[in-house]
């Protein structure tokens, strides 16, 4: 803006100190998670074991999605050459940096669940594709060239491997920019982001078909990929906003203000509506066409065990952000945003729960120590890894070409 040079007293090299209560609580959460998973895994009741696997898949997927959303956020800001987010870009970068760890955890869960027949047993079981077997399933046999263990696990490695490589390189380029300055890091990141977004956009729907939709392999929906992307993006944005609010409250990042939070709030609001749009489009088409092979999915979710949660899902993920975030001032208040973000993160846990449970534990649905404990455990891992990563680098990308624009952001 113009000829004036602006003088700031911001300390762009300030670093987050990950210690004290935050560190202790995240470690305690990890222990709670390990206890809950061990309690479930060591149970002699196979239903409890299966339920534990389903919960591990839920949280492993959620964890990976949130980290992938961090990478997507970074790439999106680069490709659109956005200035507003330059001041807070270190938060999604830290999330992107731990995507490889999240991917490995999810891969182990998927591989173990698949080989022990606790997950994906709709398409991976004895004799399903053998015409002479009493278990023969013509529909599954028809999909066997795609849905078979080696190719399924191979796709998981390819997809999550690609996302992880791009995520780590994008974060590294920015950390490197702090040291060398200049535009070379930015230009390189710009190119990589464009390639990453194309790969990510085309493969995330397939990745969610594999990871979640194939739990009920007889059913399919082309909307499912975008529905999952919407959930991933909203929850990722909520996590970015929550970490930002936490850091602001702890006295860090003085250069980020309510204008930046407002923009995050608008994205969360808008993509909650987008989530509803895709959710409803999928639901309405199936409801309208009323074809048994499609309605089976919602039939299960209208059983008494799930029906209440099915509707609560819509209230939390659509009605709540619609009413709570529509007001301009609401998006600019730290406490209000924190409340809505926590609510939406719980909401998308429920969203994934409704996606996963009817295809795994079916009527043996449970909500207890295993569910809460696993969720707390993964939250602990996430907080520990992300906060640890955040503490390793300055909280501002001081050589980011748009940092100055971010400081003057006003809406």
């Amino acid at each position: 803006m113009g000829t004036h040079s602006h003088h700031h007293d911001y300390n762009f090299s300030e670093q987050y100190k990950f210690a004290g209560t935050a560190k202790v609580l995240s470690l305690v959460a990890i222990v709670v998670g390990i206890v809950a998973v061990a309690f479930g895994m060591l149970s002699s009741d196979h239903i409890i074991v299966e339920r534990t696997y389903a919960n591990l898949l839920l949280m492993g997927y959620y964890f990976t999605c949130v980290c992938a959303a961090g990478a997507f956020f970074v790439a999106l800001q680069l490709v659109t050459q956005s200035g507003w987010s330059a001041g807070l870009i270190r938060i999604p970068q830290a999330m992107a940096s731990i995507l490889p760890i999240a991917s490995i955890i999810l891969f182990i869960i998927i591989a173990l669940g698949l080989t022990t027949h606790n997950l994906y047993h709709h398409w991976h079981a004895e004799g399903l594709i053998d015409p002479n077997s009493p278990n023969y399933d013509a529909l599954v046999a028809g999909k066997a060239s795609y849905l078979n263990m080696p190719w399924f696990l191979g796709r998981q490695i390819i997809f999550m491997g690609l996302y992880s490589v791009f995520a780590v390189i994008l974060a590294k380029l920015s950390y490197n920019e702090d040291l060398v300055g200049g535009l070379s890091s930015y230009k390189q990141s710009f190119k990589l982001s464009a390639i990453f977004l194309v790969i990510f956009g085309f493969t995330t729907p397939i990745w969610s078909f594999d990871t979640i939709m194939s739990l009920e392999a007889h059913w399919f929906s082309t909307m499912f990929g975008w529905y999952n992307f919407a959930a991933m993006w909203v929850s990722g944005l909520c996590v970015i906003a929550l970490i930002l609010i936490f850091l602001k409250k702890a006295g860090y990042m003085s250069w980020v203000n309510e204008n930046h939070l407002h923009d995050l709030g608008k994205l969360i609001f808008g993509f909650s509506i987008f989530w509803t749009y895709v959710w409803f489009a999928q639901f309405m088409l199936i409801w309208y066409a009323n074809i048994p092979e499609e309605t089976v999915y919602f039939y299960k979710r209208f059983e008494p065990e799930y029906k209440l949660w099915f509707w609560i899902n819509i209230i939390i993920n659509f009605v709540a952000p619609l009413l709570l975030l529509v007001d301009r001032d609401a998006k600019r208040r730290l406490n209000m945003m924190a409340f809505v973000c926590i609510l939406l993160l719980l909401g998308h846990w429920l969203d994934y729960y409704i996606m996963i449970m009817p295809g795994t534990v079916e009527t043996h649905r449970g909500f207890g120590f295993i569910e809460v404990g696993t969720a707390i455990g993964f939250m602990g891992i996430f907080i520990f890894l992300v906060m640890n990563k955040l503490s390793r680098h300055p909280l501002a990308a001081k050589n980011h070409p748009f940092l100055d624009e971010s400081l003057h952001h006003q809406i």
């Binding site: 113009g2 409803f280 309405m284 409801w287 309208y288």
Partner: protein, 178 residues
């Protein structure tokens, strides 16, 4: 008394204009309005401009659209000539959502554009009300009501000190396209 109605300080740089606003406000001179060829961050807060009420209009138009869209569907599909489509109930609410939604968006968008045009006197045939033509091109204008602020010499001084390229004393409020 002169016939001057408005004093216009014309700046070539937005930062200098912002500086000019500060100087005038520090001397308790009320600013009528500012005109700039592009949005300037922070100018509304500085001038104390009230937030736009356009969202309220948008909500009312949107709500009207919801009611209209739903009424149309209800009347045609459920009341006047109930239709059995695929064995669905005669009031198939999920089917009504897309159309109701679309009419809501349509009325909301058209209503907002109409409100904006009405509020800014921008309709076909209307001569634009412009206080300084160059504010639509390359100048940043501070307009001061000359009757409310009588110390014209001080205003002239302050504006020039802040870096005004030109100070105009206009007898008419608006210059129109001639």
């Amino acid at each position: 008394m002169s016939n001057t109605k408005y004093i216009l300080g014309s700046f070539a740089d937005p930062d200098e204009m912002m500086h000019g606003i500060d100087k005038l406000q520090a001397s308790n001179i009320s600013i009528y309005d500012c005109f700039t060829p592009m949005p300037i961050h922070g100018i509304e807060a500085k001038l104390g401009v009230k937030p736009s009420r356009l969202p309220i209009a948008a909500f009312i138009f949107g709500a009207t659209g919801t009611v209209l869209g739903f009424s149309l569907l209800y009347y045609t599909m459920a009341y006047d000539w109930p239709m059995n489509v695929g064995g669905k109930p005669s009031l198939p609410l999920p089917n009504f959502v897309p159309v109701t939604f679309e009419v809501t968006i349509l009325l909301c968008a058209l209503g907002m554009v109409a409100t904006f045009f009405f509020r800014n006197h921008l309709f076909p045939g209307r001569t634009p009300r412009v206080m300084d033509l160059r504010a639509t091109d390359d100048r940043f204008i501070i307009a001061i009501d000359a009757n409310e602020n009588t110390d014209h010499a001080l205003i002239d001084n302050l504006l020039k000190e802040a870096g005004a390229v030109e100070v105009k004393y206009n007898d008419r409020k608006y210059v129109s396209y001639e």
